[in-house]
């Protein structure tokens, strides 16, 4: 299974997956012109990964998400929730700058629907 390595732009986040280590890293703003097209490889990767492996950690440092990116993230979190219900070990660590409370509020919205480990970590 090929890993994904997408460099950040002003409107899209950095995305790195690590199949061997069982992690996904995302950092930056997300308002692509076509979010569904942009995120398709990641959604496919997470789906295939969860079919084959039982541990996954999402390390997120996302700031601004447009509406379609929010929808994609909810779909990914739903996949994680299903995997968790099926007994898999999934975790989200969403890091944010303590001075940017809006990011924490956004992460809280996502966390509401998740019963797996979802940590919102403020950093100096």
């Amino acid at each position: 299974m090929n890993d994904i390595n997408i460099a950040a732009t002003s409107s899209t986040p950095l995305i790195e997956t690590d199949f061997a280590g069982g992690s996904v890293f995302m950092e930056g703003d997300s308002y692509p012109e076509n979010s569904f097209e942009f995120y398709e490889p990641l959604v496919q990767w997470v789906s295939s990964y969860l079919e084959n492996r039982s541990n996954l950690v999402l390390e997120l440092s996302l700031l601004y998400l447009n509406t379609s990116s929010i929808k994609i993230m909810m779909d990914i979190f739903d996949m994680l929730e299903e995997a968790h219900t099926a007994g898999k070990d999934v975790t989200v660590n969403w890091r944010y700058d303590l001075e940017n409370e809006r990011v924490a509020e956004l992460a809280e919205e996502f966390k509401e629907d998740c019963s797996f480990s979802f940590n919102i970590i403020g950093e100096e």
């Binding site: 601004y64 998400l65 509406t67 929010i70 929808k71 909810m74 739903d78 809006r102 509020e105 956004l106 919205e109 996502f110 509401e112 629907d113």
Partner: protein, 268 residues
């Protein structure tokens, strides 16, 4: 009359199985009818099975659609909430930007951009009873050099407050830049405007400005006054009021010069 179908079928079956009936001319017809009846029953059973399967499929499909609908509804509600929050934050940021672009951060007065906008509007409308005053704090550089820029900022804030409270609603005061201010008077008779500017000059001159290290600063303002003439532009108006303000500087400071009359007058 209610027919007991099962009993009737048993009677037919028994009649057909009885070998003594095989020679009966009705035997063959009854046998064909019996076979036809059996085929119809089998078809009915098939239709019932298909119908049950179809109903089962529809039920499963409905459950699946309901689950998807609930999921999408939940996602939609969440997206709307997040979107509302973003819009609220954006509105606040816009208001802050709007304020930052039109208000002077130090004195809280309208800034140069705001005054330019106002002046352009008035000049475009050709407002013929528009008077413009330029105010400059005297020896401001000396205050900055002697007491430091923080003290200079304090003097700007204090003099802005004094001028604003003295002016009231007779005119619009803005910080033009550095230690310069512009006052716009609309539909105020010349005598009232000069009286008002005299009050400003006297109020500033009589004020003692305490700065943070215990020192007290006294200063004055020089004021130039002009009015809008047909054909004026914002630049020509500002250029003229700047000139008369410098006449006030050259006339000893702490006074008002105007070009409203034939001769430049000095007041205060």
């Amino acid at each position: 009359m209610k027919v007991d179908v099962k009993a009737l079928e048993q009677r037919v079956q028994a009649a057909l199985e009885n070998s003594s009936n095989q020679e009966n001319p009705l035997y063959e017809v009854l046998n064909d009818l019996w076979q036809y009846n059996q085929t119809q029953w089998q078809r009915a059973e098939q239709v019932i099975k298909m119908s049950d399967a179809y109903q089962d499929m529809m039920l499963r499909r409905e459950r699946s659609l309901a689950a998807r609908f609930d999921k999408h509804l939940r996602q939609l509600e969440k997206m709307a909430r997040i979107s509302d929050r973003y819009q609220h934050a954006m509105r606040e940021a816009n208001q802050e930007l709007e304020r930052a672009s039109t208000i002077d951060q130090l004195t809280d007065l309208p800034n140069r951009r705001s005054m330019m906008r106002l002046l352009s509007r008035e000049v475009e409308q050709g407002h013929d009873d528009l008077k413009v005053a330029m105010v400059d704090i005297d020896y401001f550089k000396r205050i900055n050099d002697q007491y430091g820029h923080l003290a200079g900022d304090e003097v700007l804030v204090m003099i802005s407050d004094i001028m604003l409270s003295t002016l009231g609603d007779r005119g619009t005061l803005a910080r033009w830049g550095g230690e310069e201010f512009i006052i716009l008077f609309n539909d105020e008779p010349q005598a009232n405007v000069i009286h008002c500017l005299n009050e400003l000059v006297k109020a500033v001159r009589s004020s003692e400005i305490d700065i943070f290290d215990g020192a007290v600063i006294r200063t004055s303002i020089s004021v130039g006054l002009t009015q809008f003439f047909p054909g004026d532009t914002v630049d020509s108006l500002i250029g003229r009021v700047d000139q008369v303000m410098y006449q006030a500087k050259n006339s000893g400071r702490g006074c008002i010069c105007t070009d409203l009359s034939e001769n430049t007058a000095v007041y205060a």
